[in-house]
């Protein structure tokens, strides 16, 4: 196994009007090449902050982070943002082809690749639509397709299914499992849903309440390929419950603080 992501003692302090806010405290994480790691933690514990540091959008206040590229010419990482962040002024096709366009991939080639991914996420009919014509679930698929189409070595996904209704979510979870099992990229996947993390991940890292830090982790023993069927298995329920027992205190602490 080769290490793909190495984060050591990451701390992030945001300045704010009411004094500095510590969003992440001494957080360390190592991710192996090809591993699917889920991060679960209560709201506001610093999950997005961690992902933004990995994605190079913000710098940590202290600690260090290193991503190990295999191919210097290929894109190293891309983020699927919690807020979709697809461009309203671009069609679905141009949104999905965005990364390729930025890398100077010729027009016909990038459109071909983009169309391929649009088809894979089930939006073939909407290739020429603008985002305002899409539902939330469709927008999120565009955002996922944009990241996959760029074919980075690492995918950083921030609650990609968070804004969806339960049914759409199940469908997209299935699609994600399928897409990932076909590519075996290194993934850091943030979610609120324990079931989702058990269904998708190889390993689940729990974070404490704000200011978030590493709490504990679980490895997920279930064989691949997986499907939604797995969620009906007793071992699935047992593991989910074990995770919830650990997480419960943190969630309660978060809620108490908000009162």
């Amino acid at each position: 196994m080769t290490v793909k992501i190495e984060a050591k003692d990451l701390t992030k302090v945001y300045p704010s009007r009411n004094g500095p806010i510590c969003a992440l405290r001494d957080f360390s994480l190592r991710v192996e090449e090809g591993e699917f790691v889920c991060i679960v933690g209560p709201s506001g514990c610093g999950k997005s902050t961690f992902l933004r540091i990995l994605g190079g959008l913000i710098t940590p206040s202290s600690g260090r982070v290193e991503l190990f590229p295999r191919d210097e010419k290929a894109p190293l990482q891309n983020i699927v943002f919690q807020e979709y962040a697809i461009f309203p002024w671009k069609t679905v096709l141009d949104n999905v082809a965005f990364g390729l366009e930025m890398r100077g991939v010729p027009r016909t080639k990038r459109r071909e690749t983009a169309r391929d991914w649009i088809r894979k996420v089930g939006l073939a009919k909407f290739a020429d639509a603008y985002p305002h014509q899409l539902s939330g679930g469709m927008k999120q698929r565009v955002s996922i397709a944009r990241a996959f189409a760029n074919d980075p070595e690492i995918l950083l996904m921030d609650e990609p299914l968070g804004a969806l209704d339960a049914q759409t979510r199940v469908i997209l979870q299935g699609e994600l499992v399928r897409l990932w099992e076909a590519s075996r990229k290194t993934v850091v996947y943030i979610t609120h849903s324990i079931e989702e993390s058990v269904l998708l991940g190889d390993r689940i890292v729990l974070m404490t309440a704000h200011p978030g830090t590493y709490k504990t982790e679980f490895s997920v023993p279930f064989a691949r390929p997986r499907s939604f069927e797995l969620t009906g298995a007793p071992e699935f329920a047992r593991l989910s419950y074990a995770i919830w027992q650990e997480l419960e205190v943190e969630v309660k602490r978060t809620m108490e603080k908000q009162l």
Binding site: R52, L57, P75, F87, W89, F98, E101, M102, R103, Y130
Partner: protein, 300 residues
């Protein structure tokens, strides 16, 4: 706003109303003058205004002596041809508006993007911009004429100044208020500086930039008419002012009609351009409160 009707029947109905009601008003006006309820010297009848408009056109005052053009061009006398346009009030005003608008809007957009992107420059320039912005532009016409003389240049300059600040302020706001998430997405996908402008900053700010352009084109019209009132021998403003001085009220109204048509053309022209440049904004159903009389619950 009309144009937002979705059903054929109410669409036709809307259109009929929007055509017939103004026509009815004009007819009423005409009648009021003929019956001498209104003083025709101050409020000439619509037919009299139309006649005046026709007179101004055929005499070559409004559009210049266009019938001389073919001969002049055939003779290769291009300065003569130019002079034909330079003697048409409409062309003179249009030229001033558009050259001033262009000279002001282009640097307005460029500096606006810079100010929107760069905090330091924004903080430095903001007080100056705000101070000049609140000044009614026509108030600095004397100063502009002092510097640039009373010729064509000073009129273009005053329009340019007015356009510049409106476009500048809107562009700055448009760029500054871009959702940071779009910038982050651009960075995450490796956009370089040039790509960032072309793919993210410009399109994201375009709707606000356009509202600046729309405002400034409207203001250009106001400013140029006012400038032509006081310091011109041609132009629609001059036409109106001169007609007032000589008590040719029909001509005065004819000038107003032309300005109204211009204003409407500007607006619809910009809207068409907007639809072309920002296709992603099309098909948005405006939330409208009318239609309540069709399918509403009757609650008030």
């Amino acid at each position: 706003m009309s144009g937002s009707c979705w059903r054929m029947a109410s669409c036709t109905r809307d259109r009929l109303i929007s055509v017939f009601f103004p026509l009815a008003l004009l007819a009423l006006w005409e009648m009021a003058v003929r019956l001498q309820w209104l003083d025709g010297r101050f409020f000439p009848a619509p037919t009299a205004v139309a006649a005046a408009l026709w007179e101004l056109t055929v005499k070559g005052e409004l559009l210049g002596k266009l019938w001389l053009l073919p001969g002049l061009v055939a003779a290769g006398d291009f300065s003569g041809a130019r002079k034909v346009f330079a003697e048409g009030h409409l062309w003179v005003s249009l030229f001033r508006i558009f050259s001033g608008f262009f000279v002001g809007a282009v640097p307005g957009i460029i500096l606006g993007v810079v100010m929107g992107m760069n905090r330091t420059i924004r903080v430095a320039l903001d007080p100056v911009v705000s101070a000049v912005y609140v000044l009614p532009k026509i108030a600095i016409l004397p100063l502009v004429m002092l510097v640039f003389g009373i010729g064509e240049v000073s009129k273009i300059v005053i329009v340019a100044i007015a356009s510049f600040f409106l476009v500048l302020i809107n562009t700055t706001v448009g760029v500054r208020d871009i959702e940071p998430i779009f910038i982050e997405a651009g960075r995450n996908y490796g956009a370089n500086r040039r790509q960032m402008f072309r793919h993210i900053i410009i399109p994201a700010a375009l709707p606000i930039i356009f509202s600046g352009l729309r405002l400034s084109l409207g203001t250009s019209l106001i400013v140029i008419i006012a400038a032509e009132f006081v310091a011109a021998n041609y132009g629609l403003g001059y036409l109106i002012w001169f007609s007032w001085q000589t008590l040719l009220t029909e001509n005065m109204f004819a000038g107003l009609v032309v300005i109204m048509i211009l204003g409407a053309l500007f607006t619809s022209g910009l809207q068409a351009l907007e639809r072309r440049l920002m296709p992603w904004q099309r098909e948005e159903m405006p939330a409208s409160a009318d239609g309540a009389d069709v399918g509403g619950t009757g609650k008030v």
